[in-house]
Symmetry: C2
Subunit: 356 residues, 2 copies
């Protein structure tokens, strides 16, 4: 399949997921309207929060499903939409935890509520409280309905129960990973590289790669071996993706990544690169720069040079490459059909391409 074909297929799958979500939100808004104008408005904000994404997780569901011979793409779109709502719930609540009012430079739910209230003359701290409250509620609704959408997919027992078990696994792991990440941000000591990899796996790889792929496989009636292998692939490519994402969070180009390349440095975010650097002599200087709230552009450049010089960047790149290659090897296993390899190879390649 050509790269253009892949884009077209990905686009039409995303469109199917969009249609499921549109229907869901349309029904929810109608249902909400009699219970208050603000409540209807909240659902509208939640809908807007789910729009414009790349639908990555749903596409993982559908790639595994199609690659294993699945043909009921409607059911797959429902399951995919379920993971998209789970993703929405997690990032909305993540922003509550971090007291963030913007995401990727745009007001999130808290931010939209806060700004709206401030425009109407409400004091900032009160407006922020309202925003955070709305975000807690909105995240709850998204989370509850992630579960609901699996039920609404029309899938029968026992497949339904297996899908719900996988969604449960996604939630359970994400909560564990989020808690570890919160602990990292509070603990003055630097975690080990292994601990960070564990956190990245639990917080992101499980719900973004492993479980969507497994859900797609289960939906397609795949064997236990295949489901397990897809989970392994998802774990390894997911970890690779996160490591690379953190490298780009310091070294990337902002237009390409959509994120600033100074934010993580100023926050002192615990990443594989930073944990490695902490074990080198360069840390004597780096520890003054990493986590410096008002880090200047020049100081950021200095930090980047040190991270390269002490081998931290190369270490992270190598680690990511190792995980990505292990993931690719999974696809070469005998019980993985060619059609599934065709679907998932590009995913692994995309990650590898982001590694320098």
């Amino acid at each position: 399949m050509s790269r253009n074909d892949h884009s077209t297929v990905a686009g039409s799958r995303a469109a199917m997921v969009d249609a499921v979500l549109e229907r869901f939100f349309s029904l929810s808004k109608k249902r909400a309207a009699p219970l208050g104008a603000h409540y209807e408005h909240l659902w509208g904000l939640l809908e807007r929060n789910t729009q414009g994404g790349k639908r990555f997780r749903p596409r993982m569901v559908m790639a595994a499903y199609a690659g294993l011979g699945g043909t009921d793409m409607d059911a797959a779109a429902y399951v995919g939409a379920s993971f998209e709502l789970l993703h929405t719930a997690l990032i909305v609540h993540d922003d509550v935890i971090d007291r963030d009012f913007v995401r990727r430079g745009i007001p999130n739910i808290s931010g939209a509520y806060r700004d709206h209230a401030v425009d109407r003359g409400v004091a900032v701290d009160i407006a922020e409280h309202r925003g955070v409250s709305a975000a807690v509620i909105a995240g709850d609704l998204a989370l509850f309905n992630a579960y609901r959408l699996i039920d609404r997919s029309g899938v029968g027992s026992p497949m339904r129960e297996r899908l719900l078990d996988v969604l449960d696994e996604a939630m359970f792991a994400s909560a564990a990973g989020e808690l570890i990440d919160v602990d990292f941000s509070i603990d003055p000591d630097m975690p080990l590289v292994d601990d960070i990899v564990t956190m990245e796996r639990l917080k992101t790889a499980v719900y973004s790669f492993e479980t969507p792929l497994q859900a797609g496989a289960i939906l397609a009636g795949a064997s236990e071996d295949t489901v397990r292998t897809l989970g392994d692939f998802g774990r390894e490519i997911g970890i690779a993706y996160q490591i690379v994402d953190d490298v780009l969070g310091v070294f990337g180009e902002e237009e390409a990544t959509g994120k600033t390349t100074i934010g993580d440095l100023r926050e002192g975010k615990r990443t594989v690169m930073i944990a490695f650097a902490c074990s080198t002599p360069a840390w004597a200087r780096l520890c003054d720069l990493i986590g410096k709230v008002d880090l200047s552009l020049d100081e950021a450049d200095e930090a980047r040079s040190l991270l390269i010089a002490c081998g931290a960047r190369a270490f992270a790149d190598d680690l990511a490459r190792g995980y990505a290659n292990r993931a690719l090897a999974r696809l070469a296993e005998p019980h993985i059909p060619a059609s599934l390899r065709d679907e998932l190879h590009p995913v692994a390649e995309t990650v590898l391409k982001r590694v320098r």
Copy 2:
């Protein structure tokens, strides 16, 4: 059935619900342990958060179920436990919204985390952030698993779908009510009595009375008429309960209610009594007292006298009595069997007894 028999039955039903929750938390803690000591600890805190309650909502499920001839009390206990987890999720997130670190004078999840961190030398604001973060995550886990427990009850389709619809209704309404309540706390204008009743219904009555009763009825295979009537009964008795609860929040005896009788006055909580008082000449003085953060005990007494003198207390009592009596009338309808009347009459009587 004598009052002693009622207590015994209620006690044994609560014990069955406790057993379901104990099993659930035991499994969850075992599952959590490999993902981090703190994660296992979080599950332990969540479990502790669900203990010690009166199991009111599960008892509503089981009362309706038993009163309609249901005999599989194990299944009813699962459905009841589901509502108890929903309740836990809502109060945990309510405390996040209000940034409360104690509930009924005891540290809640945020408080327990915060205090633990402070004891270990962590700065208070950082410790509070960690506490709030843990509470967001814990609430998410409780919410997700409220849904799960219905599935784990062993109930088959289509009853399972109807139970999940009812749980969905509980979540949907609670979110709407919580949002209205947040708006109340921010809006400088006083809402109408009708608006407060609507909020109390959505925020509390639906998930505490209406839907648990309906779930029990559905589980017992009751007719649509019976399910609807139980919903009506639940709405009316739930509203009565909330109105009385708010009256006791100002006039009650602290040992009896377990709540302070100055908190609501200092907070300026929007209640039926306060909304009514706002429409009387007494508001000219009351508006200086209601919402006064440092209201003294003497000033609180003055406020109470004014609330009585202007008729606000009597209005609230009458309104509650009216709802409670309407609820009792529902139980007299022909399609309500005597066994169900026997189960639910005491609930209505308990509410009426709390009205002066």
